[in-house]
């Protein structure tokens, strides 16, 4: 299958998934106990005020009609307005997506750079001292609550040592943000040669990125080890050994043969790590899409929740497609399907 046909087919498959996602979240937020009307109206509202808000939001109509209207709007690229802030949801999401992507890419990128080599090294000598140690460490990484790690890091590096800036978001209050090009303060600062802004953005990034890297390295390490052990027992590697190839060449064979399953795993992990990242954003007052989503869910902002969930689903699907393409590039044998 050619790349174009593959992309087209995937794009078509996304549509039913998206409709399903929209439908389920739509029903969930409405049938459930969330009620933004009470919050919007305030404690002293009269019944008439309640009713008028309900009417303005379209909540007085039958459910299927509400759903039809919403779906029609989504198709036209209109995700509606947040009920709490009255801002268009699509704009909010676009602005924040870049912010979260920056954090996610850096955190997971560093986590992969730690997890893969360590996992490989552990696999080369299973049950060795290094393996035992990293196994315990990765299980510990599985067990640490992300938000708690963030809080402890803020306490140690900001309060005790004074190395890190306060956790008040992506930029020091004393520095004016750079002109917007991509939306990421770090990249924009570098592009516009606004070194002060870029430096401030970089220092703010350090703690949340480390936090995310630690938490994402654990599963990647564990999986890489398991994959490499399987590859080490494969015919390919036994043949390489039988040919009398030196150890470092054999290791290159192992690396090459582990690449595809490791990459696929990292791709599937990214989706789960979005949740972890949201918690980190919450603790560091990051103001990205993750924090936006958490706040929307907690405060019962229907339209914002729906937009956020849609964005999440789209992101996951795009990641899966990207992985398929990259795997195909690494391993042309594998079919795009």
């Amino acid at each position: 299958m050619t790349l174009q046909r593959f992309l087209l087919r995937r794009a078509l498959m996304v549509i039913p998934l998206m409709i399903g996602v929209v439908f389920i979240t739509f029903m969930l937020v409405r049938v459930g106990g969330l009620d933004p009307v009470g919050r919007l109206a305030g404690p002293t509202a009269t019944q008439a005020e309640f009713d008028s808000i309900r009417e303005n939001l379209g909540l007085d109509r039958p459910l299927w009609e509400q759903f039809g209207i919403y779906l029609g709007n989504v198709v036209r690229g209109d995700l509606g307005e947040s009920w709490l802030s009255n801002r268009p949801v699509l704009t909010d999401i676009k602005e924040r997506a870049i912010i979260s992507l920056e954090l996610l890419a850096l955190g997971v990128g560093i986590g992969t750079l730690i997890g893969v080599p360590v996992g490989l090294r552990a696999a080369f000598r299973p049950n060795g001292r290094f393996d035992q140690l990293t196994r315990i460490l990765s299980l510990l990484g599985f067990s640490i609550p992300t938000y708690w790690l963030g809080l402890v890091m803020i306490f140690v590096f900001f309060y005790l040592l004074g190395w890190a800036p306060p956790a008040i978001g992506r930029m020091s209050l004393l520095v004016s943000p750079p002109d917007t090009i991509t939306g990421s303060y770090l990249i924009d600062g570098l592009l516009t040669a606004n070194w002060q802004a870029a430096w401030s953005a970089a220092t703010q990034l350090v703690l949340p990125v480390i936090c995310l890297a630690i938490v994402s390295a654990a599963p990647i390490l564990k999986q890489t080890r398991a994959i490499a052990i399987e590859v080490l027992a494969s015919d390919t590697v036994r043949y390489a050994h039988a040919c009398g190839l030196p150890e470092h060449i054999v290791r290159r064979v192992v690396l090459r043969n582990s690449a595809v399953p490791v990459l696929t795993f990292v791709g599937t992990e990214v989706t789960g790590l979005v949740g972890t990242m949201s918690l980190i954003e919450y603790v560091f007052a990051w103001g990205g899409l993750g924090q936006y989503g958490l706040n929307a869910i907690i405060s019962g902002d229907f339209t914002a929740v729906q937009g956020y969930v849609l964005a999440l689903a789209l992101f996951s699907v795009l990641v899966f497609i990207a992985i398929d393409i990259v795997v195909h590039l690494i391993e042309p044998r594998s079919e795009l399907s």
Binding site: L28, V29, F142, T276, G293
Partner: protein, 300 residues
């Protein structure tokens, strides 16, 4: 002198249930000493949860208004929180919530997931296809976001947290059981059971279940760790269990604001307790999976 036939120690009878358990435990220790450490950690928290009234030096929810935010001392080992409550007692009491949420949630997941996996694997066809696609669809969302959204939407009570976690995690067990059933479906013992005229429910629950359940049981400890972690995260976000309930996640939430002003003990200790319990469950679960999965064991 009568000739005595030498007696050899032979195992003539099948192992009793108790012997089987003890054999398993010995096997577990041989294969994975870390799993035994995990088990000990779980038992430790179990003791804390069961005997908390006798261990706690103070009432976990009564506030000493004259001792707000005191640093750890001989009287208050882990200090006091913003309400003047004893953090040490609250951390001990929190073990109850850990078990109280994890055990019923995992049981519920088993009760839902195992039959679904059995039926989907045995029947196959459209039902199986639809179910698996649905489970795949759920994977698009991070579990914490899914749990948060469903708990926020369906009502914030402890019972609801348990129900939501139990339902959301059931696909894990369904998948494992389904995979085993697929492998067993065409084996001789199933076919002869069909030929003997057993009704489908009997084949599923009497013939297939005992053979297909092992993989699911191996997952239970790791899933319990997940449930403890997610329920604490929900409480940290202020959803589900609310402060001042002595639940670890809720306590970390209370202590979060004090981290930047230097009162570290309010959030630190419940977090440490949470890590230890989840770590213990993960250690144990890891060993359990090794024990029950010969392929994983061989890979060691």
């Amino acid at each position: 002198m009568a000739k005595t036939t030498p007696t050899y120690p032979t195992q003539t009878q099948p192992f009793s249930a108790r012997q089987r358990v003890s054999n398993r435990l010995i096997g577990l220790f041989r294969i994975s000493p870390t799993a035994v450490i995990g088990l000990l950690i779980i038992l430790f928290f179990g003791v804390l949860a069961l005997f908390s009234p006798w261990i706690m030096p103070h009432d976990p929810v009564s506030s000493y208004t004259d001792r707000v935010l005191q640093a750890p001392s001989a009287e208050h080992w882990f200090g006091t929180d913003g309400n003047g409550m004893d953090v040490f007692s609250r951390v001990i009491y929190g073990a109850k919530y850990g078990f109280g949420i994890a055990i019923p949630a995992v049981l519920l997941s088993l009760i839902i997931g195992v039959p679904v996996g059995l039926i989907a694997g045995y029947r196959g066809g459209l039902l199986d296809e639809v179910l698996m696609r649905f489970f795949d669809g759920l994977r698009v969302f991070p579990s914490i976001i899914l749990a948060l959204a469903v708990v926020a939407a369906t009502g914030q009570s402890l019972l609801n947290v348990v129900l939501v976690l139990g339902v959301l995690d059931s696909p894990v067990f369904a998948r494992v059981v389904r995979a085993e059933v697929l492998a067993l479906r065409s084996s001789n013992f199933v076919e002869s059971a069909v030929a003997a005229g057993n009704p489908t429910w009997r084949i599923l629950f009497v013939h297939l279940l005992p053979n297909a359940i092992q993989g699911a049981m191996a997952q239970t400890a790791v899933r319990a760790a997940w449930a403890v972690r997610i329920s604490a995260t929900l409480a940290f976000l202020g959803v589900g269990v609310q402060a001042p309930t002595p639940e670890w996640g809720a306590m970390i939430r209370q202590g979060a604001e004090f981290m930047v002003s230097g009162q570290w003990w309010v959030a630190l200790y419940p977090g440490l307790a949470l890590i230890c319990m989840v770590f213990g469950l993960n250690l144990f679960g890891d060993g359990l999976q090794d024990l029950m999965d010969p392929r994983r064991r061989a890979a060691k």
